[in-house]
Amino acid sequence: MAPNEAEAALAREGGASWRAARRAGGLLAALRDQHLGVILLLPSALTFLVLLVFPLGYGIWTSFFQRHVLDPEGVWVGLGNYVWLFGNREFWHSLTISTFWAGATVGLQIVLGTAVALLLHQPFKGRSLVRGLVLFPYMMPVVSVVLVWMLLYNALYGVINYLLVASGIVGAPIAWLSDPDSAFWGVVFVGVWKYLPFVVVIVLARLQVIPQDLYEAARIDGAGAVARFLDITLHQIKDVLLVVALLRTIFMFNNFEIVFLLTGGGPLRATMTLPILVYEQAFGTYELGRGSAIAVVMFFLLIAVMSVYFAFLRKEPD
């Protein structure tokens, strides 16, 4: 039954139950569906209003002030913080870093995640155990992840550098997180490691519902392995991949913890993403107004990406 028909049927039945309940004299039951629905939505609406809409409004309001942390009141500067922002090299730099960070982590997650899902889709002994293990990084607390990777990356006694030097791949230890040239990829690797399982599970779930007869038919038509992958597998999972990519892009763009805890945005701002810039402006240089202005710009970027997502949903009704 299509959702709309189901709802229609339910509404009819709901009407019947309303009449029945009315006879029974229950107070709640006397409410019509529309009302009951609204009542059920109220707690969540209240939560959003108090914890999201109001703070958003307050954040926008704060962004019109110059306000030092130690001062209770700010000075109205209108769009001054935004003018400062758009003329500021650090802001554009951070926007670029954030974009590359989201792009690189999501791109790698999608490619590697699909590959791993294809591997785990094959039958082999111990498959369910491996499937379980692959989930581990995802459920590990971010702080634990960061601490472990700090130890692994260490240039003096870290095991990664030891293996690289001992096997002769590099001549001297690499300062993974403290060299501006490698720090970006150092944090990207951790981001991919942590969130890869998510893509694996979703793609795996989708792979399992691809009808096998599609492959049989292709084989009869003489299609090779590559052609079967491109024409059938990829074609079947492409919608899922698009949605996953879009959502993960937003989450990686918003991600504060991983990069902040690993590098604090450094060295030389090589990993200074926008959320870290917000934090730095607000709590490092005490500029609440400027920090809020950056956050507001992030919000409008989010709206833009979400509109793409909604447009996609409209185009491909589920």
């Binding site: 029974a24 989930l135 702080v143």
Partner: protein
């Protein structure tokens, strides 16, 4: 698939395991080495001297136990609240004809994507007015900002997938709408609720920024900022830190192990936050 492929698959599987599991192994094994062995080059891949000293220190010398309990409290409260508030809303979105429902559904998704960095400054100012800074309830409420939209989004699909026939039958038998929700729909939705709850718990368990900014009293501190404190400014006791990291991972590992078969529900429908 013909099983003859299997032999060719194992090298790839091993590579995958090394990539995924080595950091985990390194975390656990470092926590069992004495500090001098941690610094050794070449490193010992299996601890030469096994010691539980760091775990003893963790509870004897640091307040890890308190941090753990605090985290548990905050995460359980926020997960509980989110499940109640979110499921009611999700049920309404799935089953009722409410004007503006689609727009509201989108708002939920948008709320779910909200950057924490945007919220933290205004929430701090708001909570100060309400006296909710430095309170576990305040932090739990802050976690609702992502937990409620998540629960609503996942459970909406879940409720929609519960067959309406049973509900209709209950209604014809004279049950009220809420009665049908309680008696018929909820029991069907339990696996979904558990999976969703575990994810909501996971996000809260991992959260760092709100926990850092909204709580400053050490007796109320939760695990993520508390653990970062173990990396004190002046010293890095890797054994101790890895022991803390291992223990902090345990609850999630247990929860995931127990409900592995429901996992795809949460992951698949949720888009799932990071």
């Amino acid at each position: 698939m013909p099983p003859r492929n299997a032999a060719r698959l194992y090298p790839l599987v091993l590579l995958l395991l090394a990539f995924v599991a080595f950091p985990l192994y390194w975390m656990a094994s470092t926590s069992l080495k004495p500090q001098t062995e941690v610094f050794r080059v070449p490193p010992t891949f299996v601890p030469e001297t096994w010691t539980l000293r760091h775990y003893v220190e963790l509870f004897w010398l640091t307040d890890f136990g308190l941090l753990f309990v605090n985290s548990l409290k905050v995460c359980l409260v926020s997960t509980g609240l989110a499940l109640v508030v979110g499921s009611l809303g999700a049920y309404a979105l799935a089953r009722f004809r409410v004007r503006g429902k689609e727009a509201y559904g989108r708002l939920v998704l948008l709320a779910y994507m909200f950057p924490g960095a945007l919220l933290v400054i205004p929430l701090l100012l708001l909570f100060r007015q309400l006296g909710l800074t430095n309170s576990h309830l305040g932090l739990s409420l802050a976690y609702l900002t992502f937990a409620v939209p998540f629960v609503m989004w996942v459970m909406r699909d879940f409720f929609a997938s519960v067959p309406v026939d049973l509900e209709e039958a209950a209604l014809i038998d004279g049950a009220s709408r809420l009665g049908a929700l309680w008696d018929v729909v909820l029991p069907q939705a339990v696996p979904g609720l558990i999976a969703t709850g575990i994810f909501a718990f996971l996000f809260a368990w991992n959260e760092y920024l709100f926990a850092l900014i909204l709580i400053s009293d050490e007796s109320l501190r939760t695990l993520p900022p508390g653990m970062m404190r173990f990396v004190s400014t002046t010293d890095t006791n890797w054994g101790l830190i890895m022991a803390a990291s291992t223990l902090a991972t345990l609850p999630m590992a247990l929860a995931f192990g127990l409900i592995q078969r429901y996992l795809v529900t949460g992951l698949g429908a949720g888009g799932v936050k990071g």
